[in-house]
């Protein structure tokens, strides 16, 4: 049977991906260029018995999402850079309290109000470091409308599996671009649901990691009563300042991600087998980079593309391998030098690493990348 297809905007694909993943709660606040995610979910969620609420501000939106998730609802919010700045404290709350949720960031120019209708890729370091305290982060960076759909589903899967906030970042170009989408059939994409506790309510400890790095999370309003706090806590969920317990919990919350990079990582490579020059690019910029690779190859330049789809945790292993293979890595991104710092860190001087950036509201075009490649050669 032919698949259902549609011409959809990236933001619309995101909303429908959330519904496919089983989202039952959206709490948000209007902000350009992400608003269509909210608009579509305000239509679609009540159809499946889900809840949509427009909160009074970005902070409240994040709070409502965490509260809803604790009752067992798969929960999502969508915003842009200024909104993520406001949500930062509660992103940290979701990290330490280990509450699954998905945060969509349709990236625009910045800092501050910046260029609300222009594209940007300048929130990529914020996605990793944008909350106080040590923590792990998962961030996904799709580059097409179809991939926004599938990566939104994967974001829910990772959030529920690893019991933590997961961010999906796409720039305004991909968010507002329209492309043909093929809708996966129900069951075609994996949908992971939260693991329920197997112990009795009397024995339940919300952070007991003796059976695995990610303890099962009980629903509020079920048979299980427990305590949730943003304070450092012991395995029973109650605050502690005991050094050994605080240390073990903090490390576990980072290890649960860093020990499972193979499961979380997702990259695409294009013509990297024999590449002497690797263009390292993500989101809409990777589309220009792919075009540049084709053109450069026509000119006899052995160029290739490395495209992270999981941006955090950083694809360190493969980037390091490419640094030993290639003469140079050109990191192209719509900012003045963010992911390039990570690439330089793992390249360890094994190849030249240069940056090609842009923050004037125009996309990075293939010619710009080709010029940089030729400059490096």
């Amino acid at each position: 049977m032919a698949k259902k297809v549609a011409l959809l905007q990236g933001n619309e694909a995101c909303a429908l991906g959330a519904v496919y993943a089983g989202a039952k709660f959206f709490g948000g606040y209007p902000i350009t260029p992400s608003t269509e995610v909210a608009e579509v979910l305000s239509i679609e969620l009540p159809k499946v018995g889900g809840k949509f609420i427009q909160m009074e501000d970005e902070i409240a939106a994040m709070a409502s999402v965490i509260g809803a998730s604790l009752t067992g609802s798969k929960s999502i919010t969508a915003t842009s850079g200024p909104g993520v700045s406001l949500k930062q404290e509660l992103i940290g709350y979701a990290c330490i309290a280990e509450v699954p949720c998905v945060i969509i960031n349709v990236m625009r120019g910045g800092p501050s109000t910046g260029m609300p209708t222009g594209p940007g890729q300048s929130d990529v370091m914020q996605a990793m470091w944008g909350t106080h305290g040590d923590h792990a982060a998962i961030a996904l960076v799709p580059d097409s409308c179809q991939e926004i759909f599938t990566e939104t589903v994967r974001a829910f899967n990772l959030a529920e599996k690893y019991r933590m906030p997961v961010q999906v970042l796409f720039d305004e170009i991909v968010g507002h671009m329209r492309e043909r989408i093929e809708f996966p059939e129900p069951g075609e994409l994996e949908v992971i649901d939260r693991e329920a506790p197997s112990v009795s309510p009397a024995d339940y400890k919300p952070y007991d990691s003796t059976k695995g790095q990610v303890p099962p999370l009980a629903d509020f309003g079920s048979e299980y009563k427990y305590h949730v706090t943003g304070l450092n806590k012991a395995d029973d969920g109650f605050p502690t300042t005991k050094a050994s317990l605080v240390d073990a919990e903090e490390r576990r919350q980072i290890d649960k991600v860093m020990d499972n990079i193979a499961d979380i990582e997702s990259n695409e490579e294009y013509m990297t087998e024999d590449a002497e020059i690797v263009i390292w690019a993500y989101g809409s910029t990777s589309r220009s980079a792919r075009y540049a690779v084709n053109e450069l190859r026509k000119e006899g330049i052995k160029a290739g593309l490395f495209r992270p789809i999981t941006l955090w945790p950083f694809p360190a292993k493969r980037t390091a391998e490419l640094a030993t293979q290639a003469k140079a890595i050109v990191v192209a991104e719509m900012n003045l030098g963010q992911m390039v710092l990570e690439v330089e860190r793992v390249a360890k001087g094994n190849c030249v690493v240069v940056h090609e950036g842009r923050v004037d509201g125009d996309p990075i075009n293939p010619g710009q990348i080709m010029d940089k490649v030729k400059e490096v050669l």
């Binding site: 809803a68 604790l70 943003g230």
Partner: protein, 272 residues
């Protein structure tokens, strides 16, 4: 016979963190009695708080308890109630948490008239951080950050709640413990946003700076300044100077409750 609070308190969680003479414990006991009177199933009850001395209350109680970030109790609680309207939702916290950093969430939760009961302990001060002035510290009083006397005007929390759209608003004090549970019971039974403001005392960071020589002096002030609504009706404006009203200050049973309104949205979306 002594009231059995033990069954409502989590084993091993006492003693609490509150100072001797603090009124928060009186409020907690009132809340326990009220939940018992309403026969709330603790498995189906979320108690949500922000940050501060008063916000440590949920941790002591055996229920689904959620100690959130500073000021955010009403917003987290809104998410819980929206996602699972069948749950009983109770918020608690202090005056700084609820009306300064959390002021926006407070007024919008009132506006929506979402079904929850918010027990706001107003002790006129930020206690946990050592006595800085809050939006409720009386003008002229001393706090650690108003060494020359507080220049700020205050919020009247109950009036704020009524103005913002809450449909049940009541006030009492920590010196009137029996009235605390009676009003919380009414709040829980009310379908919509219920605000129970309890004027409370902080001997440690407010009292000692403002010439209250003892907790008893602070309690006496609460008793002197509190005037029940009925009694106030027979008093002149002059007699009411420096007093505040207690009891049920406002009740509206007509305004639709938010999750009930959203249930209608779901019906429409599903073509019913």
């Amino acid at each position: 016979m002594a009231y059995d609070y033990e069954k409502s308190i989590r084993p091993g969680k006492l003693p609490h963190i509150w100072c001797p003479g603090c009124g928060h414990g009186i409020v907690m006991k009132g809340l326990i009695r009220a939940m018992d009177t309403c026969e709330l199933d603790r498995k189906n009850t979320a108690i949500v708080s922000g940050i501060g001395c008063a916000s440590r209350l949920p941790g002591y109680l055996d229920a689904c308890t959620l100690h959130t970030a500073h000021g955010r109790a009403a917003a987290f609680a809104t998410g819980v109630k929206m996602a699972k309207p069948e749950m009983n939702v109770i918020c608690c916290g202090g005056d700084g948490d609820g009306t300064a950093i959390g002021g926006n969430h407070f007024i919008h939760a009132c506006r929506r008239n979402i079904d929850m009961t918010y027990v706001l302990m107003n002790n006129y001060i930020y206690g946990m951080t050592g006595g800085q002035f809050s939006p409720c510290t009386p003008t002229g009083d001393l706090a650690s950050t108003t060494p020359y006397g507080n220049p700020d005007p205050i919020f009247d929390i109950s009036k704020l709640a009524i103005g913002a759209g809450a449909t049940f608003v009541a006030r009492t004090t920590a010196a009137h413990p029996r009235e605390i549970d009676k009003l919380i019971v009414k709040g829980i039974q009310h379908k919509g946003m219920a605000i129970i403001e309890v004027i409370d005392d902080c001997p440690t960071t407010y009292g000692r700076r403002n010439k209250f020589r003892s907790v008893i002096d602070m309690m006496k002030r609460l008793k002197t300044e509190a005037v029940p609504v009925k009694a106030a009706a027979k008093m002149t404006a002059e007699q009411l100077e420096g007093k505040f009203l207690t009891g049920v200050l406002f009740e509206d049973t007509e305004k639709p409750e938010y999750t009930a309104q959203y249930a209608e949205v779901i019906k429409k979306a599903q073509g019913a």
